[in-house]
Symmetry: C2
Subunit: 136 residues, 2 copies
Amino acid sequence: MSFELHPQLEADTLPLGDLLLSRVRLMNDARFPWLVLVPRRPDLREFIDLPAAERSILMEEIAAVSLAMREVTEAEKLNVAALGNRVPQLHVHVISRFATDLAWPAPVWGAGSAQAYTPDAQAHLAQALHAKLAFI
Amino acid sequence: MSFELHPQLEADTLPLGDLLLSRVRLMNDARFPWLVLVPRRPDLREFIDLPAAERSILMEEIAAVSLAMREVTEAEKLNVAALGNRVPQLHVHVISRFATDLAWPAPVWGAGSAQAYTPDAQAHLAQALHAKLAFI
């Protein structure tokens, strides 16, 4: 079995790039700067489905993405989560939060409807993140 | 500066034990089996405030707690998250989720009010987790 991005993640997100282990996608919701890391391994649901060595790599990719997001978006707080209640494929949310954002201080899940990026806004954010992250 | 558990976490949770890096507390909410890991270092807000070596340890403690929770509670899904929008001290939620729980498939945060454990139920869960986790 080879890795394939879950169709719901494919539908909800825009391409950004691949790190050593994880595919990084941009949630297509201009209300919140929000990336999703998806380890490119088949049949993962939980962190504990990865071997320990790859969990460490995933943690370092979460850290790299967190640093890039904080620098690029000037986030006041980062939210990092692996939930998977609706989409079973293991994916890790890294979300820039602000005391002024429309969900604060609640989590972003379930807060109204996504607002798609304009092509310009998407390109601008993608370019800034590409300058900070070592995509392969 | 030495580590002190944030007073809000102290108020919301019950003691369980310490792993090498993290204090593990039981959220005092019998509706959801829910642990919180708090790395015992001062002044942490984000994963990226920890050095990389300690991030790896934290990931392995998240994994150990996840395995223990899945075995003890027969969780159908685990939710793992570091949010910190309300309580700034870095803490990682590890929550056992079930398709029959009252928040499913939404996240647990904001779902009504916590229901405190009875002493018997708390002791039973704590004992089962102590049998699975290498508390120091």
